[in-house]
């Protein structure tokens, strides 16, 4: 699969799992996309560790350092899986995986070169020395516990936006 195909397939499958999907080609695009999905003055948690995160963080004046107090988390995640439209969040590098869990809105940025074709490719890459926590995220938090009727946002985010950059 070519990089572009992989990115397209990933976003297509992520959209099927009810994630908002966006594809951007440079930092200007990325900031514009962020501005569209997040109200600029929301209490945002953004780790500001990677270059992409540093650029993103500058956009939000009202940043909070405690993700439990944020309404939105904006972060770059470890990677993604095209086969299932899944985000891969990892604790590697001191990242708080639960930052993408507690706030009601999770905005995840994935670099195009970090998309794996399949689940097998991901696990082959991490199985030798898995970090403390790997969480695969496919769509927003959901339940069908009442009459098998879909409801969104039980314990995790009710809204998931994915930006492939």
């Amino acid at each position: 699969m070519s990089g572009a195909d992989r990115g397209r397939l990933f976003l297509e499958n992520a959209a099927k799992a009810a994630a908002g999907t966006h594809s951007v080609s440079d930092t200007g695009d990325l900031l514009a996309a962020l501005g569209r999905v997040v109200a600029i003055d929301s209490p945002v948690y953004c780790p500001g560790v990677t270059p992409i995160e540093r650029a993103a963080a500058a956009l939000f004046p009202n940043r909070v350092s405690d993700y439990a107090a944020a309404t939105v988390t904006v972060e770059e995640v470890f990677g993604a899986i095209a086969e299932t439209g899944t985000l891969v969040c990892s604790s590697e590098g001191g990242r708080a995986v639960q930052a993408g869990l507690l706030p009601a809105h999770h905005v995840a940025i994935v670099r195009r070169d970090r998309i794996f074709d399949t689940l097998d490719d991901l696990f082959a890459a991490v199985a030798a020395a898995p970090p403390t926590n790997i969480t695969l995220v496919t769509g927003p938090s959901r339940t069908a516990d009442i009459e098998l009727t879909l409801a969104i946002g039980v314990h995790g985010p009710e809204k998931l936006d994915i930006i492939v950059s």
Partner: protein, 455 residues
């Protein structure tokens, strides 16, 4: 929770279930929906049969070498920082967990959905020790509030409709009545969020354990599995020994099968892969991770003729298609595990003496075998248990005498002919005595028996 096993009363339980129209409507709606969603989810999967073969072969290998994989898991999980406790039975597991929690002064415990914790009846034990145990899966939360037990292994409150849940929440939480699942979900989110943030410990089950890396794998849609395992400083996982996979690289096959079989999703919203405790430089992970490895009769099952039930990955598909389960619901089975897999597991884990009516709770139609993603031979297993039931003389003595008499007659043409004549002669008497209960169900004997009509 009422842990009293009522499997012996399966018949009475079923009769009661049949007279409950709300239950029957809920079961029909839910199991129909499951059927369609499952079929839709599998439709685009190419080579599904090869995928099932592969998953089945991996599970066979695990069972063939279980002690080795368990040892390997213990070694790698320990290396990653987890503390392992081995529990031979339910009482030991409960006590180990109570002690871990009590020693650390834990008072508020948040719990992820775990059928194994139901199996060992953990909650009542912790509550008796003065701890507050909060079930955080929405379905479990509902039935805990109602004081019930799960009636399905994936959707514990499948037997309840939205109005019942709405009234329950209005009653117990003092919120305005609503029967909108989305509104009810939001109410539960708010109530439980506070509990999560103030919890001393999280207790979870485990879907799979990777022997090579010592990782625990948990699948949840709601995110409570993630909460329970990462928000509190202490995480206690209860893991039955058969949940091993040889390697983390075996996981993809099961991730392709389990969500589709269980809920008709391509993928569960969240899959957590937890390897040990929080290490230097980590910002995620419990500071202490205790894994309670539960045997509770599994080593014995492994050595017997029903061992294949231990291949089960608890997807619930077999119950959704079972004509008996669909009609009577999960509570009738009287213990933790319902449906076809429950018939087998309950009988093996609690003993024939406490559960023998269950082995008849199947029409042997084979729908369960058709859907089982890991090819558990449920029909063969149930038939095997029926043979055992007869051998150990747990069947009705009248049935036994009747079958013995039939066996003798069938072996002798003269006796058989006599039996046929007697049946014909006494039919009016049987009819008069048995009423329509007997005559209505049993056809009258033919005037001329078939074997005399054949050339």
């Amino acid at each position: 929770m009422s842990p009293e096993q009522t499997s012996l009363a399966f018949r009475e339980n079923s009769v009661r279930a049949l007279q409950d129209p709300a239950l029957r409507a809920a079961m029909k709606q839910a199991t129909d929906t499951f059927g369609t969603k499952r079929a839709d989810a599998f439709a685009p999967v190419r080579d599904l049969e090869a995928l099932r073969d592969r998953a089945s072969a991996i599970r066979d290998d695990v069972l063939a070498n279980l002690p080795m994989y368990v040892d390997r898991f213990v070694a790698s999980a320990t290396r990653a920082g987890a503390t392992i406790h081995r529990a031979k039975d339910a009482a030991t597991a409960r006590e180990i967990i109570r002690k871990i929690l009590a020693d650390r002064g834990a008072r508020r415990i948040v719990k992820g959905k775990s059928m194994v914790s139901e199996e060992v009846d953990l909650n009542s034990h912790l509550e008796a020790a003065g701890m507050e145990v909060v079930e955080t899966d929405l379905g479990e939360y509902i039935i805990q509030m109602e004081g019930e037990t799960p009636s399905h292994i994936i959707v514990p409150a499948i037997h309840k409709n939205r109005r019942q849940v709405g009234r329950l929440f209005a009653d117990r939480l003092g919120v305005p009545y609503s029967d909108d699942p989305q509104v009810l979900t939001k109410i539960a989110r708010k109530a439980m969020r506070e509990k999560f943030l103030s919890a001393d410990a999280g207790v979870s089950g485990v879907n799979f354990a990777a022997a090579d890396t010592g990782s625990l794998v948990l699948l949840t849609n709601e995110g409570n599995g993630r909460m329970v395992t990462t928000v509190p400083p202490l995480h206690v996982a209860i893991l039955s020994i058969e949940k091993m996979l040889p390697s983390l690289t075996d996981l993809p096959a099961f991730l392709r099968l389990l969500p589709r079989s269980a809920t008709g999703q391509t993928m569960t919203s969240y899959v957590s892969v937890i390897t040990g405790t929080r290490k230097a430089g980590d910002a995620t992970g419990a500071k202490e991770l205790h894994i309670v490895l539960l045997d509770n009769g599994r080593t014995e099952i492994l050595a017997g003729e029903s061992r294949d039930i231990l291949k089960c990955i608890r997807c619930g598909a077999c119950m959704n298609v079972c004509p008996v389960y669909r009609t009577v619901g999960g509570h009738a089975y009287g213990w933790t595990y319902p449906g076809p897999m429950g018939i087998v597991l309950t009988t093996l884990l609690t003993g024939m003496k406490k559960s023998h009516p269950l082995v008849d709770a199947s029409t042997i139609c084979g729908a369960c075998v058709e859907v089982c993603p890991v090819r558990v031979p449920l029909v063969d297993l149930i038939l095997g248990l029926r043979r055992r039931k007869v051998r150990d003389r747990f069947n009705d003595p009248r049935e036994r005498r009747g079958m013995e008499a039939f066996g003798k007659a069938a072996a002798s043409p003269a006796l058989f002919a006599l039996g046929q004549r007697l049946a014909g002669a006494f039919w009016p008497v049987v009819r008069a005595l048995g009423g329509k209960d007997v005559a209505g169900r049993m056809p009258a004997p033919a005037k001329t028996p078939l074997r005399r009509r054949l050339p």
